[in-house]
């Protein structure tokens, strides 16, 4: 087996620097007049890109706020109740309207702390709901009238204000 080539002597503390940008040490010419015109076009493009981004970001955000958000009602008829702390908006819908003897499905979401949906008249309670882990409650609306839907988990000092209404009509 042949001997590997001898390594250069390394000083005790120094390590051979890993040079990421090498330099040649030679004088080089960089004049190029045609580049001025190119740069004006490039500048305009760069500026346009920055302005586009600065405008598009808020515009897109607000335009898609609802579209990408959670719909009030899914295609299959399930209601979505999004719970937020009372000082951040409370329930996403203040009133849900259903028909008598309809099978009601409600998916309960929490957007910040822990919430839960309770409709005491129908004995419905979702239990604690965490962010990103919605829970579904299902029941039959077999009585006509207006019923209170409240938050079932003490979520904040204003927890008692987190109320919505369920209206069952003929």
């Amino acid at each position: 087996m042949t001997e590997p080539p001898a390594r250069p002597e390394k000083r005790k503390i120094e390590m051979t620097p890993l040079v990421l940008i090498t330099s040649t040490g030679e004088h080089r010419r960089k004049e190029n007049s045609s580049e001025t015109f190119l740069s004006r076009r490039v500048e305009a493009l760069a500026l346009a890109l920055v302005i586009a981004v600065a405008v598009a970001t808020p515009a897109a955000s607000f335009y898609f706020k609802e579209a990408w958000g959670i719909p009030v009602r899914d295609a299959d008829g399930t209601f979505n109740m999004v719970g937020r702390d009372p000082d951040a908006g409370g329930w996403s819908s203040t009133e849900l309207v259903v028909h008598l003897n309809e099978t009601v499905r409600i998916r309960v979401h929490s957007m910040d702390t822990i919430h839960g949906l309770s409709i005491s008249k129908f004995g419905v309670d979702s239990g604690p709901v965490k962010y990103g882990e919605p829970l579904v409650v299902e029941f039959v609306a077999d009585q006509v009238g207006e019923f209170i839907m409240s938050c079932s988990v003490r979520c904040s000092p204003l927890h008692g204000e987190m109320i919505a209404t369920l209206r069952v009509v003929e």
């Binding site: 910040d112 702390t113 822990i114 604690p128 988990v153 003490r154």
Partner: protein
């Protein structure tokens, strides 16, 4: 008999006894749970934004029952390293029992978003090794070593010929 020849074994034995032994016993005790077991029940209240007591002190090997009580809003009780994750809602206390078999320092965190300063709602579980046992055990071994060394200190290495065997 020259004194230094008997001093070396004494020094070595004492060193082995008092340094190596405690370490070995501590490790063994930790691994085999050879410590006194106590039953402890500790009431912990959880609130925005902390716990009371902030530091839970128990001994290794104890059977600990925590009675968790959320006083204002829903909180979580998550203990690093012990894989405890309990949800506590105001109005219903939760009892959780576990064996404190791992010694050390374990952070306790709130695992249910409880409000604005939720990330800073922290506590600590301290599981102390039973040093009394470790110290006593090492003292026992150390004393044994000293006693032996003391007893052998004047003894010659070989029995001289003709001397009566004792």
């Amino acid at each position: 008999m020259p004194r230094h020849r008997t001093l070396q074994p004494i020094a070595l034995l004492t060193f082995a006894a008092f340094v190596v032994t405690p370490l070995a016993v501590a490790g063994f005790a930790g691994a085999a749970h050879v410590t006194a077991h106590h039953q402890r029940t500790i009431e912990v209240s959880l609130f925005q934004y902390g716990m009371d007591p902030g530091v839970i002190d128990v001994e290794q090997g104890d059977t600990v029952t925590l009675v968790l009580n959320a006083t204002d809003v829903a909180h979580g009780f998550f203990v690093d390293g012990y894989e405890i994750d309990v949800h506590v809602v105001p109005g219903s206390k939760v009892s959780y029992t576990f064996e404190a078999d791992k010694a050390g320092h374990f952070n306790i965190r709130c695992s249910m978003n409880c409000g604005v300063f939720h990330p800073y709602m922290l506590g600590r579980l301290e599981v102390r090794e039973n040093w009394n046992f470790v110290l006593a055990a090492s003292a026992a071994v150390g004393l044994t070593a000293l006693a032996l060394a003391f007893s052998w200190r004047g003894a010659p290495d070989t029995v001289p010929e003709g001397a009566p065997k004792t």
